[in-house]
Symmetry: C2
Subunit: 294 residues, 2 copies
DNA sequence: ATTGAGTGATAAGAAAGGCTTATCAGGTGG
DNA sequence: CCACCTGATAAGCCTTTCTTATCACTCAAT
């Protein structure tokens, strides 16, 4: 019942008015004059009314005067929509929600995001830090677009792309006997008071398993853990990234036997397409963080 | 640079979302399923991003979620524009400015316009009454769309369509010697005190010319003229339509020799296209008023 | 008056788009 | 396991849209 107003036809009409002639419009639109002429006539025919006075001079009819501002509005909304949609599609604009484990959030993301927002100034980023389990859950539930974390457990809903490995070492106070060592093996740790933390499960299934099983303390909160270590209450194991590097009193000694690593990777929901902005972030993450040693 | 978003494609996308499937959309849009499929793919390809998740289920991608409300807005503005433009084109809506001489305005227009607005309820009408000269001028200057008037003088800018003739007669008080006559000729008027008015020029160039030339009074204002006649200050000539028919004291006697008529017609600007609403009015005027005796 | 450069309209044919029919492939429920 | 749903794909047709070539008209300068 309603005729379709093709954006292009409306643009032709507007340009003819602006240029004051069909020829002028045809030059500006890179079309031949008959193309404009026929398109305008077709529209007029479909509306049942002429838009331009024919014969003497090509000015608008009263009906054309009525239509012109409406046509302009429609075309300008079209252009605005197209621009918005395209810049969204290009990843020039948009929102990204990303979640990482705290160590990555504090050690990797600051400089990484600085570089990212420099390259994509139109993007709006929200960074959440949570433990590995919850990061995966947020990704699976669609609360964030991407996660950078170690994989909690293999999950069909999640797609994991490996980025780098983070070697586990021993953390002790500077006055501990281990403090000056270059490396340690698990046997050396026997008899030490080992405090477990959220990352200790990495040692399970390795030669060091029994160390963990014999440990009597567990502290999940990192701040509390650091305080305990600084108080000389014991030692712990941490991936290097999780070791607070500015700590004056604590030392990190690599564990050489067994070599235990935390695998850090990019996680996304398997059957969900990323927003264009998140795709840009994904590509940037892969370009900048893949295969680097943490 | 900007891709053109074709209204139809956007409508396809919206319908697919609303129906929840390509097949459903194709049924509602009276198209085959491949038509929808290909159109959507073409749009996705042009935007460089998918709108729908392919494979498992056809729900929107995040990008699609972003686009959908914008597409809806654009399509709905398109539909509003198309509706407005069409109802304007059909003459279902719009403004008409019309000017007539006072006699037509008061004797013809009331019932005529009542019927017109009944037939075209969406139209908005402004009626001006002015003397014949000014009516023509308003039409020529585009201040009104149409005039109903006698033609002041032939004018290339004006297009005149004859409607009816208005016979001139003699107007006198009920106690005047002429009051009971059925007709009068110009010789009978000699010696009477004739008051000229704006319509007296109609007699110029007829056998009654000298009557007018010998008249000493001229009154342009109709109210004053009536008052003078009712006071018995003289007689005048008027076209029948201009005679105040409800006057108790005045009588109208047709002039039989010479028979003088005021030609009333529809006047429009020659090289201006009428608005659709005014076209409807024009057609209605020609249908209702042409060839009627006034 | 004539001519030349401007305007828009028109016709015929080529190119591009959009639609349909026919068919395939994947997933789901009896 | 098969019928039936979904969407994708290919070939061909038909419509739309564009270009080229040409005409008719107006206006201004010669």
């Amino acid at each position: 019942m309603l005729p379709e107003l093709k954006i292009q036809q409306l643009r032709y009409v507007i340009t003819v008015v602006e240029e004051g002639s069909f020829h002028g419009a045809s030059r500006r639109l890179h079309r031949t004059q008959p193309a404009i002429s026929m398109a305008v006539r077709e529209l007029e025919h479909r509306l049942g009314q002429n838009l331009f006075e024919r014969g003497v001079q090509n000015r608008l009819t009263p009906f054309g005067e009525y239509c012109l501002p409406r046509f302009r509005d429609l075309v300008s909304q079209h252009d605005r929509t197209a621009k918005d949609v395209v810049s969204q599609a290009d990843g020039q604009e948009g929102h990204i929600h990303i979640a990482t484990v705290p160590s990555v959030a504090s050690r990797i993301m600051p400089s990484f995001l600085a570089e990212f927002i420099d390259r994509f100034p139109g993007l709006n980023i929200s960074l959440h830090d949570e433990n590995a389990h919850y990061v995966c859950q947020m990704v699976a539930h669609g609360e964030v677009d991407l996660g950078i974390t170690s994989l909690w457990q293999s999950d069909e809903e999640l797609e994991y792309t490996h980025l780098f490995e983070d070697k586990v070492g021993v953390v002790c106070r500077h006055d501990h006997a281990f403090a000056e060592k270059q490396a340690l093996d698990w046997q050396s740790l026997q008899g030490e008071k080992l405090i477990r933390n959220g990352t200790s499960r990495l040692l399970m299934g390795t030669a060091a398993t029994e160390l963990v099983e014999n440990s009597a303390f567990y502290i999940s909160n990192m701040i509390s853990l650091i305080a305990m270590l600084e108080a000389g209450a014991g030692i712990t194991t941490l991936p290097r990234l999780a070791f607070p590097e500015h700590s004056a009193n604590l030392r990190f000694i690599p564990l050489s036997d067994p070599i235990v690593v935390r695998k850090i990777g990019l996680v996304k929901a398997a059957n969900r397409t990323l927003s264009p902005a998140a795709q840009a972030m994904q590509a940037f993450v892969l370009e900048k963080l893949r295969y680097k040693e943490g």
